[in-house]
């Protein structure tokens, strides 16, 4: 995977920069390969349904929710399964095949533990009141990434 620029911070574009081969624009450097819209929509719907089903709520900061949904979509695109984006793995493909960390992961299913802060039990400090998140919300809060 080739990543050409930081995703967390914005850079000025220098005239000395050679755009990466994959770039479709001469003067724009893509910060990160984005997950496909289709996968984002699938994971968005899944997240809403699962929050309802499990009686959990999204974070007060929907940015967190959005980033995780995109992370799930990204793994779904790359690995075929929505591997938890808030973990480091030795071998992502193996983990996706094994399934423990595929969303909804075993800790979530068994104990409603979601360290991604995607599904929060009502007693959690960061839990909001909503079990919905729109595609617009996702796009807006991840626009700078």
């Amino acid at each position: 995977m080739t990543v050409q620029a930081s995703t967390s911070f914005s850079f000025g574009i220098s005239s000395f920069v050679i755009p990466p081969a994959r770039s479709r624009h001469r003067s724009v450097i893509r910060a990160q390969v984005e997950p496909s819209e289709k996968s984002v929509e699938i994971m968005r719907k899944f997240s809403e349904q699962y929050a309802r089903r499990s009686g959990t709520y999204f974070c007060v900061d929907k940015g967190v929710t959005s980033v995780v949904i995109k992370g799930l979509a990204d793994h779904k695109d790359q690995l075929g399964a929505p591997l938890c984006p808030c973990r480091h793995y030795d071998d992502k493909a193996a983990e996706a095949g094994q399934g423990f960390w595929n969303c909804p992961c075993v800790p979530m299913r068994e104990r409603k533990e979601c360290h991604c802060m995607l599904f929060l039990t009502p007693d959690n400090d960061f839990a909001g009141q909503e079990q919905t998140v729109t595609l617009e919300e996702i796009k807006e809060s991840t626009a700078n990434m």
Partner: protein
């Protein structure tokens, strides 16, 4: 693979565009450094983003980023050269809590500026460093003192909680 780091006040390790310039600069001047993905000398040079045009920069390209510019040859080098304890944030791009911590780390770094240096490592770009420290959940924070892990904790928290945790760890040192 060169590492360039730029943030407002926090250096982070990720492979951005400037890596290639750094790589070409390095390969001509430091033939001993090899592109290895599993060694302590894998990073070159690790540059912490600059406050603009740095007169000491020997590189031609200019990235208008803010923060102090430093060059390291590896993560171990960064730890060794630091005169302060180092808080390392192991993160990933699409990890929600990690992104949640970005402004909090900025705030903490500013208020504890003299006491600790904050560094961020993208575990997807530097899996070997993440493996070395057995990182699993993200974000994981490790406070390094004298280049060795001293305290370690996971998950997002408020700025107050993070400052408290850091100060508790630093207190013991003194």
């Amino acid at each position: 693979m060169a590492v360039s780091v730029s943030t407002s006040s926090i250096p982070s390790l990720n492979s951005d565009r400037s890596n290639r310039f750094a790589t070409s600069a390095i390969s001509s001047s430091s033939p001993g450094l090899r592109l290895s993905s599993y060694s302590s000398s894998l990073l070159f040079p690790l540059r912490i983003g600059t406050g603009g045009l740095s007169s000491s920069s020997r590189r031609k390209r200019i990235l208008p980023v803010k923060a102090k510019k430093q060059t390291f040859s590896s993560f171990d080098d960064l730890l060794a050269k630091s005169d302060k304890p180092v808080l390392v944030d192991f993160y990933a791009t699409w990890c929600g809590p990690c992104q949640f911590m970005v402004p909090i780390l900025n705030e903490v770094s500013a208020s504890l500026n003299d006491k600790i240096q904050v560094v961020k490592i993208d575990t997807e770009k530097y899996p070997s460093i993440a493996n070395k420290y057995n990182i699993e959940a993200l974000p994981t924070f490790i406070i390094f003192k004298d280049a060795k892990p001293f305290d370690r904790f996971e998950g997002a928290m408020t700025a107050a909680q993070l400052i408290q945790r850091i100060e508790d760890a630093l207190k013991i040192k003194q």
